[in-house]
Amino acid sequence: MNPMPASEAMVFSPAVPEIFLACAAMALLMIGVFRRSDESRTLSTLSVATLAIAFVLVVIFGREPARAFEGLFIVDQFAVFMKALVLIGSASAIVLAVRFNANEGLDRFEYPVIVVLATLGMMMMISANDFIALYLGLELQSLSLYVLAAFRRDSVRSTEAGLKYFVLGALSSGLLLYGASLIYGFAGSTGFDALARVLAAGAPESTWIGVVFGLVFVSAGLAFKVSAVPFHMWTPDVYEGAPTPVTAFFAVAPKVAAVALFLRVLTGPFGPLVADWQQVIVVISVGSMLIGAFAAIVQTNIKRLMAYSSIGHVGYAFVGLAAGTEAGVRGVLIYMAIYLFMNLGTFACILCMRQNGRMVEDIEDLAGLSKTHPMVAAAMGTFMFSMAGIPPLAGFFGKVYVFLPAIEAGLVTLAVIGVLTSVVSCFYYLRIVKIMYFDEVVEPFDRPIGREVGAILWATGLVILLFIVYPAPILAPATTAAASLFGG
């Protein structure tokens, strides 16, 4: 009666990190509920420990490429690399939030638990090898993020951010599902392996309009999640409205996970259709770079600025994806890794922007930071130079690694647009440096900035500074990760 013996279906060892994270999240939830106290420091510590253990498990169980659950779930070097980035981003978001939440009256134990659950969703996205698995991972992540965006529930802006994010996110999920169903209707399977087989068998001679439409809808749905143009409208409002540590989380972990999805879906099952999706990615990339560069200039709120900056960065990363080659994918991976550290550092600086116990968010408030907080100003300056792509900082190399493969693949115009928009974006990054170093202090920020934030600042700052000296910890795994995506 049973279609298969139970033992065959129950290959789950590659998914041990995810299973651990799911069980740990539920355990944390129980601890939080039964402690009957809203104080979240203990749970934050436990959650960071959980993520650290998950990190170790990811590395241990990711040595060999493997599939689990009848091919619904895949682990390879690419997945390990992306999951490592996501875990770092999530753990940092919890660490950054401890003091902030305590000060702002948001000290609730659910925050770290929801971050852990969101992380679980992102890891499931990264390891998805089937459209249904992809969708479920994406929804787990998105649902957690909607809640986090509205976490400051007494603030109109935060609830508005949550609601906007929810409505647009639901729309994008709909687009994604619609696209996936068109593809399923064509190929008769939602599994990536089977799709790759079917599409490879017939791709060269003809292109089926149903598949191309499906591909476009799936790309549109995913572009929403990475906030790429033309699906970026929600980003500034959500980034501005959400509590700052949540914004930091939004800017790093979900982006990394969604970019991972893009890479896996486009190079895996749709590898044979590279000619079709390349145009789409080029358009998205150019649009994102332009909007990211020009719309950011007029911003006065630092979180809105970071939102446009993140849109721009997605554009740069996609330059590498547009190349569609292994070197291009490697560039994207390196870019996302560096992007993660730059952004975490910048948001750590933003979390220091507190005057008389109150958070401020205007760029003008940074005036004269170099006199009151020289270390924070130096760190912020480093991150801004890095984001602008000025050598010898890490951000420069990130851009080099995505632009070069694009030129090799013949996308010279795209690379040129990328370089030009980087020059434009220098304006607003360097304006921040100018305000910090050359403007007069109006009102100094509070001190101390807090141990957690300081630690994140130091760690990310060192990564950005030392990348030129010792790039191997990012370069080597990125190389094997990109190879695993194309080799396997």
């Binding site: 298969m4 799911a22 679980l120 479920l136 649902l143 209707g185």
Partner: protein, 204 residues
């Protein structure tokens, strides 16, 4: 066979018509009622396809639980219908444009619809013959084995939804006196009642 087709077209037509009514009804409560009608007809279509289990689950879950809560909320809302309709008309051109574009795409896609020649080979699980294996059995035998990962993932999503709803809405109110049934039951007569011999003209 003709009866079968007739019933199909009847249910399908009612489902589509009630779908239209859901968005065009003036009163939101009527919209929800039409939504329920649409659910019913979809369930009937499932029955016609031989998917009786899905049909019943659709009714139990969507009509019996989700739509009730929906109706519950809609009935309690105080919505200014005229203002809402005004807004809808304002956005009608854009919405209509998007709708027409989507429709054109659909026509284009299905006009030249092709199924990959390999599609039949890659189907993961063949649909069993409904006369041999009941729906319930067929679903159960793959849901908890092959697709256990997806099943559990869906469970996690629901958990997040629940936690999220509680986080965003539950407010601790001070000064509430809660009933503790255990405490009530643990009370004995001797704890609370004291029989005092009151001397005459003495008072307590």
């Amino acid at each position: 066979m003709i009866i079968h087709s007739l019933t199909f077209y009847m249910f399908a037509a009612v489902a589509v018509a009630s779908g239209v009514m859901v968005i065009s009804a003036r009163n939101p409560v009527h919209s929800v009622l039409f939504l329920i009608l649409a659910f019913f007809n979809s369930a009937a279509l499932f029955v016609l396809m031989g998917a009786e289990f899905l049909a019943m689950v659709l009714v139990v879950v969507y009509v019996g639980a989700v739509a009730v809560l929906f109706l519950f909320v809609v009935m309690m809302l105080d919505i200014n219908f005229r203002e809402m309709r005004h807004g809808a008309l304002q956005y009608l051109p854009i919405g209509g444009l998007v709708g027409i574009v989507l429709l054109a795409e659909l026509v284009l896609v299905f006009g030249s619809w092709a199924v990959a020649p390999e599609a039949a080979d890659v189907a993961t699980i063949p649909t069993p013959d409904p006369t041999v294996v009941t729906n319930t059995h067929a679903l159960g035998s793959v849901l908890y084995t092959r697709f256990v990962y997806l099943f559990q993932a869906a469970g996690m999503i629901l958990l997040v939804a629940m936690v999220g709803a509680i986080v965003l809405t539950l407010r601790q109110r001070d000064g509430l006196r809660r009933q503790s049934i255990a405490e009530q039951n643990a009370r004995r007569k001797s704890d609370t009642i004291e029989v005092v011999k009151v001397p005459s003209r003495g008072g307590v």
